[in-house]
Amino acid sequence: MSKAILQLDALSCPSCMQKIQGALEKQAGVETVKVLFNAAKVKAEFDADRISADQLSNTVTDLGYEVKSMKVK
């Protein structure tokens, strides 16, 4: 199980949070998603064999949010 931490640009609306959460959770291989609204961070645990961290990052980017940096453990 890998863990990715994505730092986004500041989030302004609580509905952004639900959007990101929903979109990531739907991806196959993603186990848990936690969106930190105030810190503008996304923490996701995922199965590295089924989905890559870059794919996660792309999903968030496609929703219209800028990913400033990403850490994978």
């Binding site: 509905s15 979109a23 930190l36 609204f37 810190a39 219209g64 800028e66 453990k73």
Partner: protein, 636 residues
Amino acid sequence: MKFQRFINQHINQITLITAALIGIGLLGNITKIGWLYTWSFILASIISAVPIVLRAFSALRFKTISIELLVSIAVVGAFIIGEYNESAIVTFLFLFGTFLENKTLAKTRHSIKDLTEMAPTTALVIGEHDQIEETDVDFVDTGDVVLVKTGAQVPVDGRIVSGSGHVNEASITGEAKLVSKTSGDSVYSGTILDNGTLKVQATKVGDDTTFGKIVELVENAQDTKSPAEKFIDRFATYYTPAVLIIAALVGIIFSDFRLAITVLVLGCPGALVIGAPVSNVAGIGNGAKHGVLVKGGDVMNTLSHVDTIIFDKTGTLTEGKTAVTHFHTYSDDEKGLLVAAAVESQSDHPLAKAVVDFVQSKHLDFSYISVTSSNTIKGRGINALVNQERVLIGNQQLMADNRIELSTKQLDDLHAIQRQGSSSVIVAVNHSVQTIVGISDVVRTGVKESLQQLKKMGVKKTVMLTGDNQLAAQAVAKQLQIDELHADLLPEQKVTFVKQFQNEGQKVAFVGDGINDSPSIATADIGIAMGSGTDVAVETSDVVLMSSGFDELVHAFGLAKKTVLNTKENIIIAVGTVVFLLVGLIAGYIYMASGMLVHEASILVVIFNAMRLIHYQTKSPKIDVDQVTESRVKLS
């Protein structure tokens, strides 16, 4: 999706263009150029509606009826019936309001941002052949040795393998004080080396470091919702669709389309949704800046209702180490004390160590005194020979065994020490009593004042639970004016007491040093750990006081009360706004654009109100209590 991203990135420009177009439109109105007026507003409406409609749709895809949806329907409606100026102004105000919201929200979030920006980014790793390589802090492994130069940040948690210097640990303890560190000492990531050079072997790196944990804790805390927030969240999920239905009903019943779309705009739950969370974000941020980690809005809420605070004694109310607290001398020189220190320096008894520390703290030299022989008499003290003089150091029994009588004054002093629950040591040289010292666990400075402040702030009862003996505990309780005391307790018995208070209907906070008190900390309504970032403390407690200070406890309690009050104020402002708008609508004074203006203004008001919390401060009590009582001291 690309289009949406483009719009999101250029939202500020869109707002600006809309403002300009509205300006041109108004100019057209004044100069009576009809086409300019109409087309400017049409253009402004379309441009500014795009981002709002997009957001409404993307929220709808996730089955959320958002505020944007209400605004979108209202604006499209206004556009259809030809109210171009209304639609333009409403969308502009909504965008501009969001812009201001983001700016001000960023301010309330500033303290976490400051915190994360304090995190070290690079490290100088010393390789196998002593070569130094600068790398990203993420690539340092445990076991690596890093070099820390003067002025640089310590990039890892670790142990100093060589070098020494003074470290500013403000990022961990909240206290800007230089701490001397040398080989073998632990250093923490995020602290700053003020002078010297260190080589540090990493024991923890990245997010596992104490600093990393603090950042994570504060980030999570700001998103942990208070009961008020949870209620509003639930309320908002029903409220927003309800507004949609009400607007439709109003439109059908009064067959007034314009009224229906006005209700949509007025019904936006803006300030209500943002009011409570923004107070908590500001409150928790304030705490983090003052060395108080509060784990979320619900903790804030419970903490503000605490009426009983239970303290552990050793290590919490007291320093947890013995020291000389009373000192009486009965001769004109300091010989008794110096001889005692010389003899005691060969012993590892805790009382002996306290005497030696005391003499050293007075900068007196006893190294020239040579001890010829020294015998420990169990349960009595020490019988020694120094410079052909017989030296007896110990309790009253030792003196009695050697037929040394104490004068009335000496007996009085001795009894005074014993009444305070301290241990006493009598020093006699050549059968004459020179000195009597009282040794006890020192009460920490400022505790008494802090307890008084807590009482003033609404704490009804203070309780001390300790594993120590009754006499010693009583002495501390009396000195600090603690209301209730239970001594000779095991950790599990402490838990029983905590539960007992809870059963009596009191909201209980337990303050302990985090390690042996974990069960009580976990049981209490609010567990408060005094601990400079020990893992156990950070994990089991609800509130962590980073530098273990009692003024931090006062700050935490005051901050919780202020934050909860602030949340209530914000809810009142938000509900008041909706009521005001409704009355205004019925009275016929409020229309779509003016309604939107009032809405956006109320959102800014609640944010500004919350921002007052950022600067909240409790006045710290004056700490100037010299706890050592000395009589007839003639030491230079």
